[in-house]
Amino acid sequence: MQEFRVERAGGTPVQGRAHVGVVASGNLEVLCEPPTSPGARVIVRTTVDGFEPTWRAVLERFLTRHPIAADLEINDFGATPATVTLRLEQALEELA
């Protein structure tokens, strides 16, 4: 079990809440809420240790592609980066 945070300044605040995915093997859930303070804050909780650089790269890319301000919570159960990106994109599309 590993937990870490990724933060990024600026961005447009999201409106409303989104919840996609499930905490099941090879999957993850993403909760997205309006920012409690400016910028984006992501809390990652993952059952798989040792992939923090990959997580940071995935989140960095996502926040570059979609400059949002939001509070994001990710509960991961061994998802691949493909699934992580898909769930993040789906959370955004749910808000749109």
Partner: protein, 549 residues
């Protein structure tokens, strides 16, 4: 002109065959041999150093005969040169450990890839070469003609005619190469019947028939449970349908094995239908009888399917859909691996498949450290055949135009997630295949699909249209643009990816009209094995291990 003092004997092979069979005459009644005499029969007709072909592929296996061969006395029978499509059974490896065989030419070793790598490392087996199916079959007719072939059939009649039914596969090819060059053909059958449903191999090509202790081994290798298809695979399938099949209007194609391509098959009647693509794509197939194609067939998408082999459980469904499948007068499927490989090589416009590793130049490999897996047929499907001389709109749409003589190209797609399970990157700087070749002493690294044959790479990130690249730098950048956060992918900054998208070398989901939020399992035409059975009107009978009811 002088004549040789000793006239040459031009019939030595025929005489040698006759002598071997004569030595075993007490063990044969007509062509029948008793199962209890099978080991002695093999010891009598096989000679040390013989090239022996065991029918064994990734579907059916002549396992009774291979078990008998592994039980011969190594003092009598040793140093055989084994010819086999798929080293799939433990006793195939035992043959080398016991010294019965010393050399092998093969195509695929999936299930035994670890043990084979160990034997090679220990110097217990000499690997002639790892082939594609077509190469191996081709060599049976040139320099690797078998002295003895051990094959499997469903049934024989009293004369020795054989019925191979839905799983005909490569039996006719092996038998033809052996029988017509004075080799000895021994067939194991499940039963002897008075009247065969149809004759797949004529009796005059067969020398001995034995009823096996149990039906030949068979694996339902191409059955994929829709339950295990993920949302990401649905997304990638949507990208393929829009960005490759719809764009190029692909009608004649082959799908590799796996959940990625199963997802495409299951999206045709839903997503494909919503795009109005029925009849415009995916009409003619060179394909094993994938159960996941049933919904597309039932929805009127599929004109024809020619099969490499059979698939356990699909027999009844196929027999009831003879407009679509190649079937015999008895109604059952006729498969033929060599002919379907030829069809896949020359008569299809597209191959799509997955792999384990892809390098910067799009070379792909399924070889990983400590395993010698081999190829099977994918390199035949996944290559641009230089002998092709007929045009199609798809083929011409990829014309390179570097010459005044126009020439098209086959669409060769690699479909992968940027990372495999457990966080291993698919895109790598150096294929494990290179190190494997060095350590095993192979002349060539076992590359599955050469990069210069790959026209498209599809990942969850998007599509790289590699065939549109004007130079190596552009090609590598396009590949990196879909390689995600792998080390290879990190080399492509967002600005470069944006430029490549604008130039049409790369497309992300939004560029081809795919909404990621639509990528959900609910879009699959069948989400369970039960759904597939229902689509088939109860004609598809999945093997027990795939049934939860």
């Amino acid at each position: 002109m002088t004549s040789p003092t000793v006239p040459r004997n031009w019939s030595s092979r025929a005489e040698a065959k006759a002598a071997r069979l004569a030595a075993a005459r007490n063990l044969r009644t007509g062509k029948r041999i008793d199962a209890a005499d099978a080991i002695t029969f093999l010891e009598t007709v096989i000679r040390p150093g013989d090239r022996v072909c065991i029918e064994g592929n990734n579907q059916k296996q002549a396992d009774f005969l291979s078990r008998c061969l592994a039980a011969v006395d190594p003092a009598r029978i040793h140093d055989l040169h084994l010819l086999i499509s798929v080293i799939g059974r433990p006793e195939h490896i035992d043959l080398f450990e016991l010294g019965i065989a010393a050399k092998v030419d093969f195509s695929f070793a999936g299930p035994q890839s670890l043990r084979l790598a160990q034997l090679v490392a220990d110097g217990r087996v000499q690997v002639g070469a790892i082939h594609t199916y077509l190469e191996l079959f081709g060599r049976y007719f040139v320099d690797l003609t078998p002295a003895v072939a051990l094959i499997a059939a469903d049934a024989a009649d009293a004369d020795g005619n054989l019925y191979t039914g839905a799983n005909t596969e490569e039996t006719p090819t092996i038998v033809e190469a052996t029988a017509f060059r004075n080799g000895i053909v021994i067939a194991q059958v499940n039963e002897i019947v008075d009247r065969l449903p149809r004759v797949d191999i004529p009796a005059s090509w067969i020398d001995a028939v034995v009823v096996a202790d149990r039906p030949y081994a068979i694996e339902p290798l191409f059955t994929r449970d829709p339950e295990q298809i993920t949302d990401v695979q649905v997304l990638m399938a949507m990208l393929v349908i829009r960005g490759v099949y719809e764009r190029h209007r692909v009608c004649r194609l082959n799908h590799g094995i796996g959940f990625d391509t199963a997802a495409i098959e299951l999206l045709l009647p839903t997503y494909g239908e919503s795009l109005g693509l029925r009849g415009a794509i995916c009409t003619h197939w060179a394909l094993n009888p994938h159960p996941t194609l049933i919904p597309a067939i039932e929805s009127g998408w599929v004109e024809s399917v020619h099969c490499f082999g059979g698939e356990f459980g699909m027999e009844g469904y196929i027999a009831a859909r003879s407009d679509v499948f190649f079937t015999g007068a008895d109604g059952s499927l006729r498969s033929n691996r060599m002919l379907c490989q030829t069809a896949g090589l020359y008569a299809t416009d597209l191959f799509i498949g997955s792999t384990l590793q892809i390098d910067r130049d799009a070379n792909s490999s399924t070889a990983t450290r400590g395993r010698i897996a081999g190829f099977g047929g994918a390199p035949n499907m996944g290559s641009d055949p230089h002998g092709r001389r007929h045009a199609s709109d798809v083929w011409l749409s990829l014309a390179r135009g570097e010459s005044t003589i126009e020439r098209g190209r086959k669409v060769v797609v690699q479909l992968v997630q940027t990372f495999r399970e457990s966080g291993v990157p698919t895109f790598v700087e150096r294929l494990d295949a290179i190190d494997l070749a060095h350590s095993a002493g192979f002349a060539l690294p076992p590359v599955m699909i050469y990069g210069d044959d790959v026209t498209h790479v599809v990942t969850e990130e998007g599509i790289a249209y590699l065939y549109r690249a004007r130079n190596v730098d552009e090609r590598r950048a396009a590949l990196a643009a879909v390689a995600g956060v792998t080390p290879v992918g990190m080399e492509c900054p967002t600005e470069r990816a944006t430029a490549l998208r604008a130039a049409g070398l790369v497309a992300y989901a939004e560029d081809v009209g795919v909404r990621r939020s639509d990528a959900r399992r609910s879009l699959l035409a069948a989400r369970t094995m039960r759904d597939l059975v229902d689509w088939s009107d109860g004609l598809y009978a999945p093997p027990a291990r795939f049934r939860s009811w």
